[in-house]
């Protein structure tokens, strides 16, 4: 089972839930929020190995190039421009798709590689922990997420800690998941972005359930929405000052007895909801 934790809205507690669930379920943890991977702050994995994520970018051989601009026209990402003298490349916009070289009738385009991020792997108290880290200034996270999720073993159980939102970053992670858990908060923003996440999950056809985090006892916004739409609401993680303090110190909520119980109950529900064993 590969369970993706997503939210729509940022800051609802994806990483908090994901790291605590990974320990409770004794399964692997993958931090797919490569723009701001925070899971390792809580997991502190040991013996971390790192491997760069490399992407292709085109190089033009001007002894062959006729400046016909077919490569520029072929590029769907506007990463190329042609002047009367040369082809200009904007590396950050290049998706490495090779369309430019397919379009080039002169065979003038070859490819070189550059690093856009790194994938790190280690172990944390008996569980496997991995994350992708996008290099600062790079706009495209998907190559790093794909590289990270290549490490997934088909036999292993894993928690995939997804990026916020419902963009390519979230979609790429969902493509590797068997089921999803939406973590939301009982606010209007939480509900609004949850609705978008639900739409995405229905579109990709993944089974999913939901959970309210940071509850102060008034969750009708979310419970009514879930009831109306037949969404399996697994439960509620309460807000508390103690939890906030533990979080701010990079500690697991499992260190607090009442949260440990809550996570054990949640793990059980997840296994039942997704027939996971």
């Amino acid at each position: 089972m590969k369970l993706c934790i997503l939210s729509g809205k940022g800051g609802t507690g994806k990483t908090t839930l994901a790291v605590n669930l990974a320990y409770t379920l004794n399964c692997a943890y993958y931090d797919c929020d490569v723009e701001e991977p925070n899971g390792f702050i809580f997991l502190n994995p040991m013996a971390v190995s790192a491997e760069e994520t490399l992407v292709d970018y085109p190089c033009v051989d001007y002894s062959l190039c006729t400046l016909c601009k077919d490569c520029v026209t072929a590029c769907q990402f506007n990463a190329l421009a042609a002047t009367k003298k040369e082809i200009l490349l904007f590396k950050e916009l290049c998706h490495g798709c090779h369309a430019c070289s397919l379009a080039c009738s002169e065979g003038a385009i070859t490819f070189a590689k550059r690093a856009v991020g790194v994938v790190e792997k280690g172990r944390s108290n008996g569980i496997f922990a991995a994350r992708g880290v996008l290099n600062i200034g790079e706009p495209m996270a998907v190559p790093v997420i794909k590289h990270l999720l290549k490490q997934l073993k088909s036999s292993e159980d894993a928690i995939l800690d997804c990026a916020p939102g419902t963009s390519c970053n979230a979609v790429t992670t969902l493509r590797h998941a068997d089921a999803a858990l939406i973590v939301t908060e009982p606010t209007v923003f939480g509900l609004n972005d949850m609705e978008i996440a639900v739409e995405l999950l229905n579109h990709v056809g993944l089974p999913f359930a939901a959970l309210v985090n940071k509850s102060r006892g008034e969750d009708s916004l979310i419970t009514e929405y879930c009831g109306k739409n037949g969404i399996n609401l697994l439960g509620v993680i309460p807000f508390s000052k103690e939890a906030a303090i533990a979080y701010s110190k990079g500690k697991l909520l499992l260190e607090l007895p009442e949260y440990k119980l809550a996570f054990e109950a949640l793990s059980k529900q997840l296994k039942e909801a997704f027939a996971w064993n």
Binding site: N78, A81, T83, L88, L93
Partner: protein
């Protein structure tokens, strides 16, 4: 030929302070003192709008661009193509041309911020500097 980023397809339209995502380019031919207008094909690009708009300007054969701001990518494409750019405020297209002809526009000789036109439009509207 002079290309002006424009909000409309007449010479009495306001010039557009955004380059990559303006709606139209007004093309002014000094020899005949006439305007033609073409849609900016890059205006709804998901990324690289400045680059694609610059390519369009190159392909149209303009020698001069009048606009409010050029991001780093658009700046580099136009510079690479030897096209000169001048800064306009939000005046009419025809006024921008008159100001240029009178030598009263300053050259855009460095790139502005990326996505400058999105700062207030996408998240609240363009702010004239």
């Amino acid at each position: 030929m002079i290309a002006i980023s424009s909000t409309g397809n007449t010479e009495s339209a306001l010039s557009d302070p955004r380059f990559g995502r303006c709606e139209y380019f007004a093309l002014y031919e000094p020899k005949t003192e006439t305007y033609t207008f073409i849609e900016n094909k890059a205006q709804s690009a998901s990324g690289g709008a400045g680059i694609a708009a610059s390519q369009q300007i190159i392909d149209l054969g303009a020698e001069v661009v009048l606009t409010g701001n050029l991001g780093p990518n658009a700046y580099n494409v136009l510079k690479g193509a030897g096209i000169r750019a001048f800064r306009t405020s939000a005046v009419l297209v025809s006024e921008a041309v008159e100001l240029y002809k009178a030598g009263r526009l300053s050259p855009l000789d460095e790139a502005g911020d990326a996505h400058a036109g999105m700062r207030k439009g996408f998240r609240g509207g363009f702010e004239n500097k």
